[in-house]
Amino acid sequence: MKNKIRIGSGAGYSGDRIDPAVELIKKGNLDYIVFECLAERTIALAQLQKMQNSTLGYDPLLEERMKACLPDCVSNNVKLISNMGAANPIAAAKKTVEIAQNLGLSNLKIAAVFGDDVKSMLDFESQTFLESGDSIAVVEEQIISANAYVGVEGILTALKEGADIILTGRVADPALFLAPIIHEFGWTLDDYPLLGKGTALGHLMECAAQVCGGYFADGALKQVPNLGNLGFPIAEINEDGSFFITKLDDAGGMVTQATCKEQLLYEVHDPTTYLTPNVVADFSNISLKELEKDKIEVLGASGQSLTGKLKVSVGYHDGFMADAQISYGGSYAVERGKLAIEIIKERIKINKIEIEDILFDLIGVNSLFKSNGEQTNPAEVRVRVAAKTATKEEATRLVNEVETLYTNGPAAGGGVSKSVTEIIAIQSILLDKNKVIPQVEIFKSNL
């Protein structure tokens, strides 16, 4: 059993950069690399893809990431854990077997962890959305997906089976980090203070660059070195749950008390009560200590027993979004922007365009003309009309009305853009934890 382990964070969201992850695997002296790639809505989009093709529904960058990372993971003995399985962990695992074999990597154990899909368990008679308070029956016909945020259990099983690569569906983000810590140190699932410490680590790491200088520089007081080559973080944790966050010496960015504080509170509500499937973590007594440059020790995280409930994200079709824009520059740009908005309001009435909600914005700095001389203030405005409609047709009618401002609107309107996109909305419900059974299937790469 190890007395300390090092975990790298290889992605903070589905589309994140791949090169910093490869750098970490090569030079980070890691035991594990974790890729968190599943935003609230991503799994609903993946489910739609799976419905069209049963071999898809996993992360769109899975193939590219695996090709870039697997050779160094194998040569440096780094295990990989990720929720890139999205709506289809089995297909993701099979695809990864194929990629490994094509790379000449044999004897890899690749685990699919699933059981988070609870769509068949939805109870339309009694369950209500936490956000709106509405019965879920209101959107019954439009529901695409329902996935529970599960805990460490499935990943632990896969680790016990000796998996080298673990691909999950929906898992609470910090659990991706907490699971290997529990596995390596033999922590028990009822040692809540320790689980709270591991959860704090996971929470700090799950957004990758956001703890080492990403989403931080303010253009003035808060400077971050070498943002173009921003590194991803490494956490090193001891058996007693004490840990520090650091980065590679030659990577851009920085790990400071300030970057850690911002990330510690990111997406947190009550810091004493951070709800996860395995522990109610308490971040309120955390203190930070700079051990050396770019190395911050995190002390004092704790935790209490469970709620017995899991959060379930329900994804459903919720109409369409129209977005159309047009720009005006020079004197009276704002007046013309406002005039354009009044014209659109009138066109909506005349043509009876059915809209559920609409927003009018004025945007802009220097998109029309790069000038060194004197300019009006503001030099330009970009009118943005954004609306929610029940149908694609109504959304299209609206964006086309904005386009007609070219020939029918105020003077010198330019650069129209228009888009119509389907809205996939997410709301949450709670489900008893004991109803959700983790499942694991292991595949092997053979040459």
Binding site: E40, E262, L265, V268, S287, L288, L359, I423
Partner: protein, 103 residues
């Protein structure tokens, strides 16, 4: 003086709820922030952007406060009509809040 002179900040989102941290650059300024950056002051400053309740959590260990705001994204990240659906820019906006400091 503005809040940005004493504190830094980050927005996070969950559904239609955002949290905006307010973190003292220097922990000695934390009591001042706790006194001046009240729920009422924040609600007033952000105006109609935040439609729901605002709760303030204090984390003196970190010299920080965490403001949790309901109905802050016009329906939530997945349905909002706003250009910034996540409310990520609202931390910078909040830091423009004027602080009246009487010595």
């Amino acid at each position: 003086m503005k809040l940005k002179d004493l504190a830094h900040s980050r927005t996070g989102d969950k559904g239609d709820i955002i949290n905006i941290s307010v973190i003292a650059y220097n922990e000695k300024d934390y009591p001042t922030l706790e006194k001046l950056v009240t729920v009422e002051a924040v609600k007033k400053f952000l105006g109609e952007t935040v439609q729901g309740e605002v709760i303030r959590y204090e984390v003196p260990n970190l010299g920080a406060m965490n403001f949790v705001m309901q109905k802050a994204l016009r329906g939530g990240v997945t349905r909002s009509l706003r250009l910034d659906k996540h409310g990520k820019s609202l931390s910078s906006i909040l830091l423009e809040m004027p602080l009246e400091i009487n010595n």
